[in-house]
């Protein structure tokens, strides 16, 4: 054949074949990691063994006990013949726990234990235990690998577990085949319940780690067959866990930060309970920065919703009655917010309401001056006063006015 013709063809073909295919892995050969749980090892046996093996290895402050949840795709298909081997229970997941100095080390160690090498692009949840988060720099260290690895996504949800993180992803839910997807799905229910914190993703965590403020991350607790995602973990501005907020306190925090997309509000009117379904909130922060030692913030919360349940017998169609009701709900919001403020402002002294960020947005020159005296130094945050004013609009009373007559009681 003509050499002028063959040579370019050969060059094109070779350059394609030699440079291509390097990251080709068939989909069934990948170990999809759905969840990662990071704990502190309970014993230091493994550590001792490792030191004996190589005494000169670099020491770390804190070792990690990492549990990966891998999918067994064959187990997802009902009655399939795939995955017959050892998998008698027909489970769709596999939890692998390893200990190591770094997360990358653990990840690579897994390759020695499973036929399917870990693949992080479908990672849904990252659970970090309270102990890791409380240790110095533990949280940031645990997140570093997952932030740095180009293979992992910034959309995975981050949760802090009360108790061991491992037990969270080891629950066996009845509704889903994969625990990680079950937990992930619960995280989407933010519009159903205000006691749940808005989801914090890996990308958000990175932003918070770099920011000078404290932050919150959803708290999760495991029971035998289920988990409960309510409450929140509070981190100080040096990225260390300082404490937890309870469920109601989290709801208050959501009102304070304006992060409510749904939920309910209970109030007592005429000695009986009335429940409102929250449809939306609006929130504005008014600053009064005249006194440089004592800033005053007023948080205005406007909330609207529809009546969901009423045990109290009253005429909801009358304007005066509704006004009363709205005031009762507003009072309830203010109460919850005050409770939350008591804890985060007075006790923990962490600016999770992001008031500092609010100053930075609205009065940057001032912020430049005080930024080192906000949560630290002169502790201006602690000294400032925070007021809450709530207003509720009841838009709809539901399909009926009364469920029984007064005489019936």
């Amino acid at each position: 054949m003509n050499r002028r013709f063959v040579l370019p063809c050969l060059i094109a073909l070779l350059s394609a074949l030699v440079t291509g295919c390097w990251d080709q892995v068939q989909i069934e050969e990948r170990g999809f990691v759905l969840g990662v749980a990071i704990d502190v090892p309970r014993t230091n046996e493994a550590e001792k063994r490792a030191t004996k093996e190589s005494p000169g290895k670099p020491k770390v402050k804190e070792r990690f006990l990492v549990t990966h949840q891998l999918v067994i795709p064959g187990g997802l298909i009902a009655g399939s013949q795939a995955g017959d081997g050892q998998n008698t229970a027909n489970e769709a997941f596999l939890n692998l726990t390893s200990e190591g100095d770094s997360l990358f080390e653990v990840s690579r160690e897994l390759a020695t234990r499973t036929s399917r090498a870990p693949f992080y692009q479908h990672l849904k949840i990252i659970v970090i235990s309270e102990d890791v988060a409380r240790s110095e720099n533990g949280f940031a260290n645990a997140m570093d690998f997952l932030l740095r690895d180009p293979d992992s996504r910034r959309g995975s949800k981050v949760l802090i577990s009360k108790g061991p993180a491992k037990s969270i992803i080891e629950v066996t839910p009845k509704t889903e085949k994969l625990p990680a997807l079950y937990i992930n799905q619960i995280g989407e229910h933010i519009d159903r319940n205000a006691r749940m914190l808005h989801q914090v993703r890996v990308g958000d965590v990175h932003e918070e780690l770099l920011s000078p403020f404290g932050f919150v991350i959803p708290r999760v607790r495991a029971e035998k067959n289920e988990i409960k995602m309510a409450g929140s973990a509070v981190f100080s501005n040096n990225n260390q866990l300082v404490g937890f907020l309870g469920e109601e306190e989290t709801e208050g925090l959501n009102f304070l930060t304006g992060n409510i997309s749904g939920g309910l509000l209970k109030a007592k009117v005429k000695n009986d309970l009335v429940v409102m379904n929250i449809q939306g909130t609006k929130h504005t922060i008014k600053q009064d920065l005249r006194d440089k030692q004592r800033f005053v913030f007023t948080i205005h919360i406007e909330c609207e919703g529809i009546l969901a349940e009423a045990y109290s017998l009253m005429d909801f169609l009358s304007k005066e009655e509704t006004k009363k009701l709205e005031r009762a709900f507003a009072k309830e919001i203010e109460r919850m917010c005050q409770d939350t403020l008591q804890k985060v402002h007075k006790e923990m002294k962490v600016d999770v309401i992001k008031l500092g960020s609010n100053i930075r947005q609205k009065n940057y020159p001032l912020w430049k001056k005080i930024q080192h005296d906000w949560e630290d130094g002169q502790r201006l945050y602690e000294k400032s006063e925070i007021r809450v004013k709530a207003k509720v609009y009841l838009r709809n009373i539901g399909s009926i006015n009364r469920s029984e007559l007064d005489e019936g009681r």
């Binding site: 013709f5 074949l17 291509g20 999809f32 795709p73």
Partner: protein, 524 residues
């Protein structure tokens, strides 16, 4: 470089070819004045075939010898009896015309008065006479003169006008071209009553002498375009031309391209629409396939029905078709790329179920795809060759049995079967069959690229295809015309089909002499 290489090879081949062609030429000699010699001349030249009709007779009182020569089957024998032989014998005897003695005068009498045929001519050249006889004329020879009369008596069996098989429509005319050139011109004439409609006659094929018509509308079509088409046809230098595909391949701009550079159709409505746009059509005797030139990718994606249905329907169907084109080319390659390189791009649940169904499949996704796509191509080819009832069976056997069996045997994954089905259906949704074939070829190229580089490769292959397409021309007109070079006016009738009242101009790319179709809007 490639072009030079092939051109070199072509040059070498032409010289012996030319020699053979020259041998096939009929000796350019004058006819003899003797009937007997002339008959002998024709007999030897044609090899005395058994379908050669010769009838000798005497006319007039001077008993002049005459003869009629024709090819049996090519001529309308009823017409020959009543209008030629009958009239000559009856008229001359009953009307008691005095038959002149001079042979030339007899010939003139016959030509001017006796024969009641519209198309008739005198001829002295043997070559021309033979050509005419072979194309269905009847030759009348009179003893004593070297002039002969050629009577147009064409009348052979031809197929009736039927519905076009390859281009079915729900809404639209049902007539299609036939193998008979005259029928085809009639079908066009009936739609184009413009006096400027031109059928330029040409003859192609050194031996086959096939008649070819270049059709265009005089003051719409760009004269340069018509000239260029005629110039290219004039270069055709082959023995025989069976189908318009020969013409297409002779005159196309780039013979290495997988894309068709002319449109072929058996729908007269499509041809008339193209003529009115300022395009040129090439009709060839013996085939119902008419070529339309120049063509663009956009035009090949259009179907006449886009215009017959209301504009919303037409627009949506076109969008669907462009989507189908994308699927037809890229769905297997995207499958390969996503499954082997980027499972992170697939939604989690789908990724797991693909992984589950691929559990135990022994081949990588690329081999799996090549296997299935090749099988599909085989089925398509086999279905074409077989008679209709069996062809359908092949479709069912192939689609259901092989697909299902391959999945349960663990050779391929069910998702692959879906991908193949989607690809096949999409390629059938392309209105032009020859374009669909191009897409089928490109599909393999994209699959190779995907197997080597993943989605990056798919994008590279798309870029390569676009580079090629924007480089391609059809009779010198850019193939991607309204896209690149960008002609914003023509976009009204490209991916979208604007309401008919908006389509006021002819396509800009054709440089039509009369650019305006609709003058209603301009009058104010």
């Amino acid at each position: 470089m490639m072009r030079k290489f092939f051109a070199h090879r072509n040059k070498k081949k032409t010289s012996p070819l030319m020699q053979r062609m020259q041998q096939s030429q009929i000796p350019d000699q004058e006819l003899s004045s003797s009937v007997k010699e002339n008959l002998e001349l024709f007999r030897t030249l044609l090899g005395n075939p058994n379908d050669l009709l010769i009838r000798s007779f005497l006319i007039g009182n001077s008993n002049h010898l005459c003869a009629v020569i024709a090819i049996d089957g090519l001529v309308d024998s009823a017409m020959l009896h009543t209008q030629v032989l009958g009239r000559i014998q009856l008229m001359l005897s009953i009307a008691e015309k005095t038959v002149p003695v001079e042979p030339d005068e007899i010939l003139s009498l016959l030509f001017d008065e006796v024969l009641s045929v519209v198309e008739i001519k005198k001829e002295t050249s043997l070559a021309a006479a033979v050509d005419c006889i072979l194309s269905g004329d009847t030759a009348l020879i009179v003893d004593g003169t070297s002039q002969i009369i050629l009577i147009d008596s064409k009348g052979w069996k031809s197929r009736a006008i039927e519905e076009p098989v390859s281009e079915g429509l729900v809404r639209g005319p049902r007539d299609g071209f036939t193998e008979n050139l005259r029928d085809n011109t009639v079908l066009i004439r009936r739609r184009v009553k413009d006096p400027n409609l031109r059928f330029e006659s040409m003859v192609v094929g050194k031996r086959s002498k096939t008649e070819l018509l270049v059709a265009y509308i005089e003051n719409i079509a760009d004269p340069d375009l018509v000239k260029e088409v005629q110039r290219r046809i004039a270069t055709i230098d082959v023995d025989e031309v069976e189908e318009s595909g020969f013409i297409e391949q002779w005159i196309e701009d780039d013979f290495l391209s997988p894309f068709p550079q002319s449109n072929n159709t058996e729908r007269p409505d499509k041809v008339s629409a193209a003529l009115f746009q300022g395009r040129v059509a090439i009709l060839l005797d013996g085939t119902p396939m008419v070529l339309i030139l120049p063509v663009t990718l956009g035009l090949l994606m259009h179907s006449p029905e886009d215009y017959y249905e209301r504009w919303i329907v037409g627009t949506l169907t076109r969008l669907l078709r462009y989507l189908a084109a994308f699927f037809a080319v890229f769905s297997p390659s995207l499958y390969i790329a996503l499954v082997t390189f980027h499972p992170g791009l697939i939604p989690s649940d789908l990724a797991f179920s693909i992984a589950a169904t691929r559990d135990g499949v022994p081949f990588p996704a690329f081999v799996e795809s090549i296997m299935m796509i090749t099988t599909m191509e085989l089925l398509q080819e086999a279905g074409l060759r077989l008679p209709k009832p069996i062809g359908q069976t092949v479709g069912i056997v192939g689609g259901l049995v092989i697909g299902d069996a391959a999945v349960s045997a663990g050779l391929v994954s069910p998702v692959m079967v879906i991908v193949v089905a989607l690809t096949a259906i999409s390629s059938f949704a392309i209105p032009a069959y020859h374009l669909a074939i191009a897409f089928r070829m490109i599909r393999f190229f994209a699959m190779f690229a995907a197997a080597i580089f993943g989605v990056y490769g798919v994008v590279l292959s798309l870029i390569a295809i676009l580079i090629h397409l924007s480089n391609l021309t059809s009779i010198g007109h850019p193939y991607l015309a309204p896209f690149a070079p960008h002609m914003s006016k023509d976009w009204k009738d490209l991916i979208l089909r604007a309401p008919v009242t908006f389509l006021k101009d002819r396509p800009e790319m054709l440089h039509a002499e009369d650019e305006i179709r609709m003058r209603t809007g301009d009058s104010k």
